[in-house]
Subunit: 345 residues, 2 copies
Amino acid sequence: MPSQPHKASRLKRVTLADIAARLGVTKVTVSRALNQPEKVSAAMRERVTECARELGYMPNRQAGSLASGHSRLIALLIPSLSNAVFSELHRGLEAPLAAAGYQLLIGHTGYSMQEEERLIETWLSFGIDGLVLCGSRHSPRTREMIARSGCAVVECMEKRETPLDMAVGLDQHAAGRAMTEAMIALGHRHIGFLGARMDRRVEQRLGGWRAAMEAAGLSQQALLTTDAPSSVRMGGELLDEMLTRWPETQAVFCCNDDLAAGGLFECQRRGLSVPDQLALAGFNGLEMTRGTWPPLASVVTPRREIGERAAALLLARLSGDLDATPHGLWEDLGFSLQTGGSLSS
Amino acid sequence: MPSQPHKASRLKRVTLADIAARLGVTKVTVSRALNQPEKVSAAMRERVTECARELGYMPNRQAGSLASGHSRLIALLIPSLSNAVFSELHRGLEAPLAAAGYQLLIGHTGYSMQEEERLIETWLSFGIDGLVLCGSRHSPRTREMIARSGCAVVECMEKRETPLDMAVGLDQHAAGRAMTEAMIALGHRHIGFLGARMDRRVEQRLGGWRAAMEAAGLSQQALLTTDAPSSVRMGGELLDEMLTRWPETQAVFCCNDDLAAGGLFECQRRGLSVPDQLALAGFNGLEMTRGTWPPLASVVTPRREIGERAAALLLARLSGDLDATPHGLWEDLGFSLQTGGSLSS
DNA sequence: ATGAAAGCGCTAACAA
DNA sequence: TTGTTAGCGCTTTCAT
């Protein structure tokens, strides 16, 4: 590694040894006073904390982790920073993990398995104790590294019959099917599907739409997908194309709420009334769906609860409650439908 | 620290020593073959990489960092995970830092100075080499820890006359003023301001609105703010209240695009035509503003460029180009106005 | 309640 | 090109 002139200019680091020397005790005592205060006399505790404060001591956790073999670090890998779904997953994880003394790291994969692999390699080499992943698609090397490391893992969001270790989420296929069935039940026959950023979860939702349409004997013709990132604007463009190609369309199921919001704006642009002339539904039930006009119908997914449950599983695993949380565990947290609004008045 | 039964169950870690023993050389040689391949014979390089692969070797970066004194880790602290502004800042940082061999850590402060302090303490104790912060408000302890550590720092987004080290962003006050002046130039007299999540940047934008209104001799009465998080829904609620209390309002400047989008939906709910009956503007110029109908007027901020510039400054500092990047440096990357659409047809 | 010794896995500086 | 010697700062035993 190259030299680092900048750091060279800093003050010398204060270490346990400095405190120990100043107090005429050994490093062990100082370490205990700071990390296991009950194992040290009240007087000593007092003197050590006072001196640490005075000198501006900051522990070196690299050294600590190296010596102890664990870091109290848990990494969360999310596909997208701007997708509110993952920020709510994060919210669910953060509090319980922090309460148990774990620090949550956030990594950004950009929906790339390769980037996921790179990040996991980095995190593992920094000694993380646990890992939270989104989805169930991982490279072979990712699987191998995780297995070797013995790191606790939870896979989130989608159904996972054979998890790497533990998994918690919902059945995206069933959710897609349920919403489509609701649309059919409202009397719609020409129901289109709009999908962007076609990752596994979106494909599962699409599968649900297909299953429902097929079961009802309806045409699966009005289908438009793109691998490009999902966005409000993309929703408008896709809906425009759909209405141009299949003008008979009565209802559109969008693979997420951003797309559906864009669809809502496109309807305004065209002067189409929602839901009277066109019914619209999204997926995830983000906060936004209750701020649009009309309110957006959507499949509400328990993102935050998934995070909370994932945290609980991780903590159980890390604390050694092995029997209570069997490997291969899969928990289904379900979903619910938010109808009305953009679907029916 | 508590015991860790889970990790105990894993395979023994493969270390440099294992490879060295197997090859009948010393650890140093193996370390060199892996990290400074040019310092070792081609044959040796070959044997080492092969053996490392075979044994599934994964370096321990805690040990490496501890020994070398640097980690090649840079932390980015963002106030909100779901705000697209910060995800684009991240995007700007990521590529250049990765290209230079640095790993970017993401931390989430939730707009809390205290959480920022806690995170910085954690990251510093894990030996980060650089730090990217949003904004210029930091607790005294945060400043002190950063100073002691000698860690390179860039403060992003807002104007900063006296940075901790380096800063890059834009003048939020001037941006707020410019948009307000544009609204005035369009002939509007009753211009309201809507603000949520009143952090420093939003306060500066509000200050810009005030300055422009005052300069034009207009009333600053139509002002509604809340400390609650910003959201589409909140935008609708605030606009509803504003139009109820000040029915004469002709134009509304929202402190960000989410709020403005909510305002757009509220106008639909009320059957108000935008911009004919009410003009609307947001702030940031997110992708979304080009997906609404009508397209949303907004102040376009160079978030991505700020990230790229921050990365460049950090790398310059870390590589020792001290003279080229003076401490106390502040770079203004400006802004631009996106008008038309929701502001005027 | 405190200490002594040993070592976590790696890299830096210097030798050969 | 490769090896030797010393740590980095902390936490573990195991003693006392």
